[in-house]
């Protein structure tokens, strides 16, 4: 009997030989050339649509350029960056954004995981329920904002009408400082809880059944099983969902634009909404570019810290 052929190798590069070109293929067209040929359209698109605008914004962020005023872009060093970082207006918007992100993502995580946990325990109608819960996520945020704006209207909105029928007073959902931000959190939660639910459901489904069976044999309580089996196994996946949602929430613009327009006053203006105003009301392109770059940096740094924590969790 001949020696068995090794299925794997530690050094495939040395063992594998380069397959000969297909018949009819030009000898000058190497595998590498073919690969470059195939990926270059996508790469060029990426360069034109993402890399170039980013580099261009980075360049503008060090200038006083205005898209409408014309004239040369004068280099002003870190002037835009220091102005943004020391601006009380920006600090106020950062705080609003932070409160919003913590409120919305926190609520979505609790609700999303709760719903996923309940659905995962059902054996019948699970697919239908999951699909129904996903509907809000499929709608455009502008559409969601518009119909919630009508629903939350203090005079003729359905929410106040329901409160009225319960004998409760009218609430000015969108025109009072506290309720306006709460309304934004509620609407975002309504739309994006299904996202967390979906990922949590995937995690819950992947938990091996034998762990629960072993726990049952040991007569472990429901709470003990949840705390020691379910949560630790789903936690890393849930954290990834939280990260995605936090990044999304950090750059919230559409719901604010439709629901409150940043009001009352500027109390629901998020960082993204403020960048929009800087960029398009006064057309201060240089400042807006620096503002955008800073926001990207914040997201990158926080994501990196988060990913490190996630990796550490995985290693543990």
């Amino acid at each position: 009997m001949s020696d068995p052929v090794p299925l794997t190798t530690d050094n495939p590069g040395q063992v594998a030989s380069v397959p000969p070109p297909a018949p009819g293929r030009s000898r000058r067209l190497t595998d590498r050339g073919l690969a470059v040929g195939f990926i270059s359209p996508a790469l060029l698109l990426l360069l034109a649509m993402s890399v170039f605008p980013l580099l261009w914004a980075l360049y503008l962020s060090f200038t006083d350029y205005s898209a409408t005023r014309g004239g040369p872009a004068n280099f002003i060093g870190f002037g835009n960056y220091t102005a943004i970082l020391t601006s009380a207006q920006v600090h106020q918007r950062a705080l609003t954004t932070l409160i919003y992100v913590i409120g919305a993502v926190g609520l979505q995580t609790v609700l999303g995981f709760g719903i996923a946990y309940l659905i995962s325990r059902r054996t019948h109608g699970r697919g239908v329920l999951t699909t129904l819960f996903l509907v809000p996520m499929m709608l455009s945020p502008v559409v969601v904002g518009l119909f919630w704006r009508f629903m939350l209207d203090a005079q003729f909105g359905v929410i106040n009408s329901m409160l009225g029928s319960l004998g409760l007073g009218q609430v000015e959902w969108l025109t009072r400082q506290r309720t306006a931000l709460i309304s934004l959190v509620v609407v975002d939660t309504w739309q994006w809880t299904p996202f967390i639910m979906l990922i949590a459901l995937a995690g819950l489904t992947a938990v091996p059944k034998y762990l629960y069976e072993a726990a049952s044999i040991d007569r472990a309580s429901e709470w003990f099983r949840f705390r020691t089996i379910t949560l630790p196994l789903v936690w890393p996946l849930l954290l990834i969902a939280v990260m995605f949602r936090a990044i999304e929430a950090f750059r919230l613009f559409d719901l604010v634009y439709i629901l409150t327009n940043g009001g009352p006053g500027v109390s629901t203006e998020t960082l993204s909404f403020h960048v929009y105003k800087v960029a398009f009301l006064g057309f201060n392109t240089g400042t807006a570019s620096a503002y955008g770059i800073l926001m990207v940096l914040v997201v990158i740094v926080l994501t990196q810290l988060y990913l490190r924590y996630l990796n550490k969790l995985k290693e543990d």
Partner: protein, 477 residues
Amino acid sequence: MRNPKRIGIMSVPGRKARLAAAALLLVATTVTACGDGKDDGEKASAPKAPATIPELTKDPLTLSFIWFDWPPAKALEAFANAEYKKERPNTTIKVNTVPNANWHDAMFTQFAAHKTDFDIAILDSQHIGEAVTNGNILDLTDFVKQNIDVAAYNPYLLAAYGQFPQAETGKRDENASLYGLPLLGDTWTMIYRKDLIGDKPPQTWDQMISVAEKCQAENPGVSGLAFHQANGSDAAAVTYNTVNGVYGGNLWDAKARKINGVLNDAAGQEAMDVLVNKMKPLTAKGSGNWFIDEVNAAVAQGKACIAFNWIAASGGLLDPKQSTLGTTREQILDKLGFATLPSQKTNLVPLGGMGMHVSAYSSAANQAEALNFMKWFEQADVQKKWAAAGGVPSRTDALQSPEFLNAGPFNQVYTDSVPRMRDMWNVPEYARLVDIENTNVNAALNGAKKPKDALDDIAKEQQGVLDSSGRKGGGGL
């Protein structure tokens, strides 16, 4: 596992060459995208339109406008296609509309790109400074001298919709350049419920407030007042500026470019106090984000004793399909009255409306057609037809014509208001100034700021915008 040996890896010099090629490509893209920079520098001011209209094309042509979505935009398209086509059958008029909140952005982002999908921009009077300074619209001074009968207009209307730098309130500087011509005049009208407060409208602002207070107390479910309070567009800002004017305040000292200390002087403070502490309590709960449509809805549903709105947006109030006040126009008019604004220390009213301005980036053929349209539109008989079609003309003869005065119950209000008008600033920094005012007045109206703090913040922040031209970095924050 050890690192596998990579197959077909590039040699170092080859890799460097490809990286260099990629970098060159990026630089080339950047240079192409940015141009050589000369173009921007050379177009620092508005280019001039010819004094005489160039030869017009005989080919089919679409003359495009840009405006925001409201009834006058539809009326203009229908009117222009019906009437202008009689003179220029090869021309089709298209009025592109955007939501009111996007109106400024939609025009100025296209101006920024130096390419517009419109030939005539319908600018708010306050946008003129920004468009002129950036060279976005044509200088019509010579064209107007040659083609327009300027004596036919109230000088301030001609100035408000076309002149830059801005004229003193009520006047026109004949030596200043003109960049636009009136399209639609407008001001606020007071809409009052004749069946609730009587046929005679209140004459003073204080009287108006007490009448509204009494009406609200006597009619549960009906609020005393309805007016613009939203923080978008110029909603809350126009409301404060109106009260400011009526109580003798000033928005700024234009010559000294001074706002702080002028806007928030004693008269300004009194106006803010009246608005927040006397008028706001008479409005419906949750009306802190109301603008044109919401005020109209409140009136049409019989939910307000007295309301303030732009005349050009009031036509829908007489439509029985949209109203609960009557099943016919006559029944509605039995209940609704329209009057000029009450006076107090002064009789000033806000100047609304918009002018027509020719895009500097439109093709030569379309610019010629645009000039021809403007010349046609400003003729006496066309202005009267425009009035009959639901528009608000600016020529004095049209304003006093039966075609206009009989076209709507609020048209007499406009004619009477013309000598009382006051505009905001039309400086290039307008968009930021109005945003500061809108957000702060909205904050005061909704309890997010004390009235005095809000007014002081407006004055301080607006002054900062006017003074910030030499600042290095952070402009726009």
